[in-house]
């Protein structure tokens, strides 16, 4: 997919003017956000479970090599294979080769952010294999030719009307010639169209929420049941997952599952949580005979031991997106790639480079809500600050910003000069503010004053009041 992350500002402007998107984003608060609040209130142990979930992942990350090797051994024991892939290109090629080995013409897919990250669909299509997304949201954006705009609700930006348009356009060839206006009818139509695709597919590709080292299972979590149909009906099941998805035991997966659905959709538990290991056993009447786990690094190992290691605890619940004022204003597409919101602002620079993604860690008010709601206790604002530091160190910002920061840092280290300049500035701004106490234009700060007024300073500075004992 085309990466538009460097154009974040322009993307954000477009997003603010997009009425449909703004309507969808307005629903987030009453939807995901409110439901998460209810679900967490209902479970008194929620905070303690988050602490445990965090400790599990910290333990795993500290011993990641050990757990990966043990997971691999158990997959093999269950009759499956593990394919280690250093980067996106290698993972794409491995999946393609596995599809070819299976003689596949088409592959059904259940939603996987890793598949988005490695741009798997384009690769399969380019080599004559039809990828079919089966998660309803992911199917809708596949028809629309768009990337996901939310990590758990990929078509959140689409209205019912625009979905109806897409279905009319793409489903006529299956004999659906009536436009449906009700969400339930649209869902039923998609169910019928996709049902035959499940049976036709030679390969089913799923992601994984967890890889369980204890017994070689991979865990999928869905509400629709599409991950199950995707993996049970074709003869080959390919799982694509990144390294950090491994957990030690079924108990550890369970602890994290208790905070996952509640944080994501505000459900007590998703409709389907499925543990799959290897191919069908002797005597089984269904299930795939071949089971492959494509284990992707793609920059994760480089995060270990450094300031971004904590990001590897992320379980992709989307709570940070749902509670972020920036995401809530501009939606996911503005971020220009696969991951959006606060988790995207931290992960994207790691995966595509700070040169392309420098805008993202700057798109934050540092209000801290993301960290507050993160069930894995990831210090997202702190990590965005780390990226800003790196951006500064590598001289990526415009000269004016760098000069401003350098000046500010000099004054911050010289309190007397700071006080003098602050008094001078306050006096000047006070004069500029005039009678209505608003500043509508300020040289060098048009980025602020173009869209809003700056209130004129009133009276003395905070430091002066503090010194005078007015606390």
């Amino acid at each position: 997919m085309q990466i538009t992350t460097p154009q974040f500002s322009a993307n954000a402007k477009d997003a603010l003017a997009d009425k449909d998107l703004q309507m969808a984003l307005a629903k987030l608060r009453a939807g995901f956000t409110a439901r998460r609040g209810k679900a967490t209130d209902r479970l008194p142990e929620f905070d303690a479970l988050c602490d445990q979930a965090r400790a599990i992942k910290d333990h795993v990350l500290a011993n990641l090599d050990d757990y990966l090797v043990r997971f691999e051994a158990k997959v093999i024991e269950c009759g499956g294979q593990v394919h280690w892939c250093v980067d996106a290109a290698e993972a794409r090629d491995v999946v393609l080769a596995l599809c070819r080995d299976a003689g596949a013409k088409s592959a059904t897919k259940s939603k996987s952010m890793i598949a988005e990250e490695i741009a798997l669909n384009d690769h399969l299509e380019a080599h004559g294999i039809e990828p079919i997304e089966t998660d309803l949201g992911e199917y809708i954006i596949q028809l629309a030719g768009e990337p996901p705009s939310h990590i758990i609700a990929p078509a959140i930006h689409k209205t019912k009307d625009s979905i109806a348009d897409l279905f009319v356009k793409h489903h006529a060839k299956y004999g659906f010639d009536q436009r449906q206006d009700e969400a339930s009818a649209l869902l039923e139509e998609a169910r019928q169209v996709l049902r035959s695709k499940y049976f036709e597919a030679d390969v089913g590709i799923t992601g994984a929420n967890f890889l369980v080292a204890e017994n070689g299972s991979i865990v999928t979590v869905t509400n629709e049941g599409n991950a199950e149909l995707t993996q049970i009906l074709p003869d080959t099941h390919i799982v694509i997952a990144s390294l950090e998805k491994v957990v030690p035991t079924l108990e550890d997966a369970t602890t994290i599952l208790r905070v996952l659905a509640r944080s994501a959709t505000g459900q007590e538990f998703s409709s389907y949580t499925t543990f799959s290991a290897g191919g069908r056993r002797d005597g089984d009447l269904d299930g795939p005979s071949a089971f492959h786990v494509v284990l992707l690094d793609n920059g994760r190992s480089a995060m270990l031991g450094g300031e971004f290691q904590d990001m590897l605890r992320c379980i992709r619940c989307g709570a940070c997106l749902n509670h972020c004022p920036i995401y809530g204003a501009v939606g996911g597409h503005a971020y220009g790639w696969v991951y959006s919101g606060p988790m995207g602002a931290v992960l994207t620079p790691q995966l595509i480079g700070i040169e392309a993604a420098g805008n993202l860690p700057n798109a934050s008010t540092f209000c801290g809500r993301c960290e507050e709601v993160c069930p894995m206790r990831i210090p997202l604002p702190k990590m965005m600050r780390h990226w800003r530091e790196r951006e500064f160190e590598t001289r990526l910002q415009p000269a004016v910003s760098r000069l401003g920061l350098a000046l500010w840092s000099w004054f911050a280290r010289h309190p007397t000069a700071y006080g003098l300049v602050a008094r001078l500035a306050a006096w000047g701004l006070n004069r500029v503010g005039g009678r209505n106490r608003r500043i509508g234009w300020l040289p060098g700060a048009q980025g602020w004053t173009a869209d809003r007024d700056l209130p004129a300073p009133e009276g003395k500075s905070f430091r002066a009041l503090w010194a005078a004992g007015k606390r």
Binding site: L250, A277, D284, L295, Q309
Partner: protein, 223 residues
């Protein structure tokens, strides 16, 4: 160097920067003991309480429940449910000795076929390995007696469950699985209500790709 060696090498190099918590003995012990984490107090009840919680949580996610007092009442309960909802009386039934032992002739209108799920099946009947009261969840294990397709292809999935199969928390079900001696099944499904999707304008609709209805028949010998 293989990709496997490169990745493991990179992981080890990275971890040299943060040595705390690195502990092969703890890894071994964790996998051997599979210690439980915090278990929510809500699920720690006596058998009666567990059954009540299980039913309440199941109904909350649109699972429907019928209670009967013995296996012999199951056929009439299922036939009654299907008739009440205007559903086909033909069902695909799991090839399970427990189901085979049920006197189906008591519901002569039910037309049963044994086997795995197929596209044409409208109704399926299976047992389950356990019920989890915490969230009203049914745990289904794949195996010769329980094809996974029956859980997911038909529009209506009917599950026959004995009350003594209901545990409080998921962890109790994991222990029952380990103690059953059947090893790791190909598929373990935790099913919490019928299939649903919120992908159209964030409004939850039932019946996405899996069953539109999940019905439990709970056999409670004590009642």
């Amino acid at each position: 160097m293989s990709s496997r060696e490169r990745i493991l090498g990179a992981v080890r190099t990275g971890l040299e920067g943060r040595a705390e918590g690195r502990d092969p003995v703890a890894v071994e012990a964790r996998l051997a003991t599979h210690a439980r984490g915090l278990i929510p107090a809500r699920s720690q009840l006596d058998a009666r309480g567990r059954l009540d919680l299980f039913i309440a949580m199941a109904e909350e996610v649109s699972t429907s429940v019928t209670r009967v007092s013995e296996m012999a009442e199951v056929p009439a309960a299922i036939a009654g449910y299907l008739a009440e909802h205007n559903l086909a009386s033909a069902a695909k039934i799991a090839p399970d000795p427990v189901l085979d032992a049920i006197p189906w002739s008591k519901a002569p209108l039910l037309e049963l076929n044994r086997g795995k799920g197929e596209d044409a099946d409208r109704v399926s009947i299976t047992c389950a390995f356990a019920g989890v009261a915490e969230t009203g969840t049914v745990m289904a294990l794949s195996g010769p007696h329980h094809p996974t397709t029956l859980n997911i292809l038909p529009e209506t999935h009917v599950v026959v469950l004995r009350a003594d199969q209901i545990v409080g928390a998921y962890e109790e079900a994991w222990d029952r699985l380990r103690n059953s001696g059947r090893g790791t099944p190909r598929t373990v499904m935790l099913i919490t209500g019928p299939s649903r999707s919120g992908d159209i304008e964030q409004t939850m609709q039932l019946g996405a790709h899996g069953p539109k209805r999940l019905h439990l028949v709970i056999v409670d010998d004590e009642s």
